[in-house]
């Protein structure tokens, strides 16, 4: 198994790990962390392909995605904070109020 394959397998593993985490955990904070995991899996594959094709723009794009992810988490964490202040719980089931 060459390096690229290894890296891609790792990236898929990270993504699936995150996905399963999002699907089975009910804690909002843990779910956010799992989403980060999925994102990192994707970024890893992006980096791998960028290196393989030796394009500079691929490497730049990776940093762009990191910035976006950081911005996103910077909004998500305060939302979770506010939610937890309201109900004193992080269980997402407690917030299913829009259900018809």
């Amino acid at each position: 198994m060459d390096r690229t394959q290894l890296l891609l397998t790792l990236s898929i593993a990270l993504f699936c790990l995150g996905l399963v985490g999002v699907m089975i955990r009910r804690n909002a904070l843990v779910m956010l962390m799992c989403m980060e995991l999925m994102l990192n899996g994707v970024i890893l594959s992006l980096v791998t392909f960028a290196e393989r094709t030796a394009t500079l723009s691929g490497a730049v794009l990776v940093f762009l995605v990191f910035v976006v992810a950081a911005a996103e988490i910077a909004i998500a964490i305060p939302i979770v904070l506010l939610l937890s202040r309201q109900r004193h719980t992080l269980d997402v089931g407690a917030y299913s109020e829009l259900k018809g």
């Binding site: 699907m23 089975i24 779910m31 997402v92 089931g93 299913s96 109020e97 829009l98 259900k99 018809g100």
Partner: protein, 627 residues
């Protein structure tokens, strides 16, 4: 000015309708009375003017086209008026008697809250009636025909707060619609065959050398069906007695003097057609005779003063149709003319009695009114004698002519017709004098309260009664059928029977007097003898006072099945099952589907994620599969 005179006659009452209808309530009763009576009187004056012109031109008909409605190919639908001797006479009756009844109404309806509405309707009726008698073509006539039906409906149901009266109006309208279907079909056939609907052209076509490509009898029968509706002949006679729910002057004008004679007018107007339709004529004679006879038998036992007069009207209309059936068109119109006077007088007299008794209509609770309301009594008596055929009053002349032609006409006269008609005349005299005695001459059977309030009517009413009584007395001396002979030929009289003419006149007089004697004998002492007779012939009495159960028969044969079909088939199956069912089914389906789908919305975040992932995986798989 000739050109516009006929249009003016027609439009004057319409103006009255518009003015009274729009402004009447605002401008008060004085305005309504002046407009409501003034315009019909003006129309009468204009009719007299037109009549003088007609006489001056030796009877050449006046014709004018008011408006061209539509032009289709080379056929023009025109609102055209035609004024020959027949329509002249009818117009004079309509506007003359009509004006008198308008004047009477100012007294009779004085206390009514809907005074303006009443006069608006009455003027509207006059407008349509004039359209009917003056129209040159069947089409214009039909518009008038429907219009008088509408006015009649509005006036029968004038006091519509009472459901029974509103129902009577509906019954009249619906029964008339049945007849109108026949009228329409006849009109279609005529137009199909001749390409014209003008009365004069139709008559000429049938009298011409080439017979039109349509059976005169078929058209005749269809139009006669229309006439049975309007003129209350069997089997469509049921509406007229119920129509007495309207105000009494309306009964006098619409349901005695004018509108109900429209059928007679129609047949007489188309005499050229009916001369070539022996089968239709025979049918007319038979139906007329049956109506005259059965209505008279019912009238004998009625106890409501207006119902007696209503059945009497039906019966007299039957007489007119007998005359039409034997080809004596002029005589039929002669009876229309005398009947208009004495029947209007009788109805208005009845109105005066009802007015005097504050609404009482049952003759069993009247009596002894002769001294209390003498003018009403005298005029009523004159009109009663006139309808009973006592010479020399108007009814004698016309009825005698009808009886004579029923026997001696070469166009279907027969001894049987004569015998039944004579017997009916006897009954007519009997029930009319019964009415006279029970109302005016027997000892009073009124309760104290009513008796205390009895009062003679105001001059606006009694004056009209006097005029009509005089006309019923002397009207017969103007022999209408001679006047009409140029437009309506008289049938040949059987030579073999010529020697019977004089004896038969005496016989007719004797019939009238016998009716009088019989009525006096039975009712002189009040109701005692009549009640004995009633007990003796209880079964017969029940059938007669049940009006032969025709209403019940119609209810059972037509009403109930129709009701059942409407209820079960149209409402139950069509409306409820089919339309409602399919709509409710669709909404139910949508609701159930939505109910199923809404289970997806669990509120469980993880489940949503799962679905999203499945969606992504599925679309990826699809993309992979399709390259």
């Amino acid at each position: 000015m000739t050109m516009d005179l006929l249009t003016l006659i027609v439009l004057l009452p319409l103006a009255g309708f518009v003015l009274n209808g729009l402004l009447g309530n605002r401008l008060g009763k004085g305005f309504v009375s002046v407009v409501g009576c003034g315009l019909p009187v003006l129309a009468f004056c204009a009719t007299v003017q037109a009549f003088l012109q007609l006489q001056a031109s030796q009877g050449a008909a006046l014709a004018e086209t008011a408006y061209t409605w539509a032009t289709v190919g080379d056929f023009r639908f025109e609102i055209a008026f035609y004024f020959d001797r027949l329509s002249a006479l009818m117009t004079l009756i309509v506007t003359g008697v009509g004006s008198l009844i308008h004047i009477y109404s100012t007294g009779y309806m004085k206390e009514d809250a809907s005074y303006a509405r009443y006069f608006a309707y009455l003027n509207l009726f006059l407008f349509f009636m004039l359209l009917l008698v003056l129209g040159r073509s069947l089409l214009v006539c039909f518009v008038g025909w429907e219009g008088v039906g509408l006015a009649s409906y509005l006036l029968i149901g004038f006091w519509f707060e009472d459901p029974a009266k509103a129902a009577a109006g509906k019954k009249a309208f619906i029964t008339n619609r049945v007849g109108d279907a026949g009228f329409l079909l006849g009109m279609f056939l005529l137009y199909h065959a001749l390409g014209t609907l003008d009365f004069d052209a139709v008559n000429e076509a049938f009298n011409g050398p080439v017979a039109p490509a349509v059976s005169a009898s078929l058209v005749g029968v269809l139009l006669f069906i229309g006439a049975t509706g309007k003129s209350a002949q069997i089997p469509l006679h049921v509406w007229l007695p119920d129509a007495m729910a309207g105000p009494t002057p309306v009964s006098a004008l619409i349901h005695a003097a004018t509108m109900v004679t429209a059928g007679v007018y129609l047949v007489a107007r188309l005499n050229g057609l009916y001369l070539h339709a022996p089968e239709a004529s025979q049918l007319i004679a038979v139906v007329g005779l049956a109506t005259a006879f059965f209505a008279a038998t019912i009238a004998v036992v009625q106890t409501d003063i207006k119902k007696v007069l209503a059945y009497s009207t039906v019966s007299q209309l039957g007489f007119m149709f007998v005359a039409l059936g034997v080809g004596a068109y002029g005589v039929a119109v002669f009876h229309v003319y005398t009947h208009a006077f004495f029947k209007a007088c009788l109805f208005l007299g009845a109105g005066s009695v009802i007015h005097a008794l504050s609404g009482e209509q049952d003759i069993r609770r009247m009596g002894g009114l002769a001294k209390r309301i003498p003018i009403t009594f005298v005029t009523f008596a004159v009109a009663t004698a006139a309808i009973a055929g006592i010479p020399p009053l108007a009814g004698f002349f016309s009825k005698d002519e009808i009886l004579w032609f029923a026997l001696a006409s070469e166009r279907g006269g027969s001894p049987l017709l004569w015998a039944v008609a004579s017997f009916t005349a006897l009954m007519t005299a009997f029930y009319m004098f019964r009415l006279l005695w029970l109302t005016f001459l027997t000892p009073s059977r009124m309760d104290h309260e009513t008796e205390h309030h009895v009062h003679e009517s105001p001059f606006s009413m009694t004056g009209v009664l006097i005029v009509l009584a005089i006309l019923s007395a002397i009207g017969g001396f103007f022999h209408v059928y001679h006047f009409l002979e140029p437009v309506m030929p008289m049938p040949a009289e059987s030579e073999a029977l010529e020697h019977l003419k004089l004896p038969l006149i005496f016989f007719a007089v004797a019939t009238g007097l016998a009716g009088l004697a019989l009525a006096v004998f039975v009712y002189r002492g009040g109701l005692g003898r009549a009640e004995q007779l009633q007990r003796r012939f209880a079964g017969l009495h029940r059938v007669l006072s049940g009006k032969y159960y025709v209403d019940e028969l119609y209810e059972a044969v037509l009403g109930r099945p129709l009701h059942w079909i409407s209820e079960r088939v149209f409402l139950g199956l069509g409306d409820r099952a089919l339309i409602d069912g399919s709509l409710h089914g669709l909404t139910g389906l949508a609701q159930r589907a939505a109910g199923r789908l809404s289970r997806v919305e669990t509120g469980n975040l993880q489940f949503y994620v799962l679905l999203a992932v499945l969606g992504v995986v599925a679309s990826l798989a699809w993309m992979w599969g399709h390259g």
